[in-house]
């Protein structure tokens, strides 16, 4: 019976430390930060003035938002 518990714990630890989980978590954090603060990473799809666009330098400047080339982020909110 204890081997089942050990296997489950191993599976949970493996899941949390796996590359896929880390990538999914990073994507979630970046999306949350974009929606919450208006600071969006390159590659994220979000709405600016109701239009869904992919964040990159070109789109950021096209919609007259501030592009941070150091972090590759676009500030889309006027707070």
């Amino acid at each position: 019976m204890k081997y089942i518990y050990v296997s489950i714990i191993f599976l949970i630890v493996f899941t949390f430390f796996s590359e896929e989980f880390k990538q999914a978590y990073d994507a979630f954090v970046n999306l949350n930060m974009c929606i919450d603060t208006g600071i969006c990473n390159e590659g994220i799809k979000t709405k600016i003035d109701g239009v869904l666009i992919e964040i990159n330098e070109e789109n950021c400047k096209k919609y007259k938002k501030i592009w941070n080339s150091e972090n590759s982020t676009c500030i889309i909110k006027n707070n």
Binding site: N32, T37, T46, K47, L52, N71, K77, N79
Partner: protein, 187 residues
């Protein structure tokens, strides 16, 4: 203990009937409101306003008591409101709706009574703490920006809780309508 809870439930139910009666009386008097001069003997304005205010206070009190009698329901209902509104916000991918969903979640949770309001405050504080730590940790947001954003969110959260407590029967999407951005206010 069960008898006491039953007795409280009966009082709540009886008070609900009293509120309905009060509503009927107020509806009957509303046509006379503002129709007579202050010194006129038929002037009912002060009494009407007092009754109206007391009705709302009674509703809030009954809501609080109902929430405390069924604490698990209140807590789970509040958590459910937060989760649903967060999912809606993420699926919309529209950051301009952030304040609206923040306040709507708090409003719906606060409509569960004083317990729901407390749960809403706790969840909001936890989220802001997590967000601030995460944003600063990624070094893409400065400490000042993170704190300023958190303060703005908490302002929306407080507003949602206040309106939810004061208007427990109203639709929170309507109550918080003014927090939507201009381009999302058109129906």
């Amino acid at each position: 203990m069960e008898d006491e809870v039953s007795s409280i439930e009966n009082i709540v139910s009886h008070t609900g009937d009293t509120i309905s009666e009060l509503d009927e009386n107020l509806n009957g008097l509303i046509s006379e409101y503002g129709m007579h001069l202050p010194e006129c003997e038929y002037n009912i304005d002060n009494d009407f306003e007092q009754m109206y205010a007391q009705k709302f206070e009674l509703k809030i009190l009954i809501n609080d008591i109902s929430g405390l009698i069924t604490p698990l329901q209140s807590i789970l209902g509040s958590i459910n409101s937060f989760v649903n509104n967060y999912i809606d916000l993420l699926s919309e991918r529209d950051g301009s709706m952030d304040k609206f969903y923040h306040s709507k979640a708090n409003c719906e949770a606060a409509q569960n009574g004083i317990l729901g309001s407390a749960v809403a405050k706790g969840l909001s504080d936890l989220k802001e703490l997590y967000d601030s730590y995460t944003y600063i940790h990624t070094h893409k947001v400065s400490k000042e920006e993170a704190l300023a954003d958190s303060a703005r969110d908490q302002k929306a959260n407080r507003e949602g809780r206040t309106r939810g407590r004061n208007y427990p029967d109203c639709d929170c999407a309507v109550l918080m309508w003014d927090l939507r951005p201009a381009h999302r206010k058109q129906k």
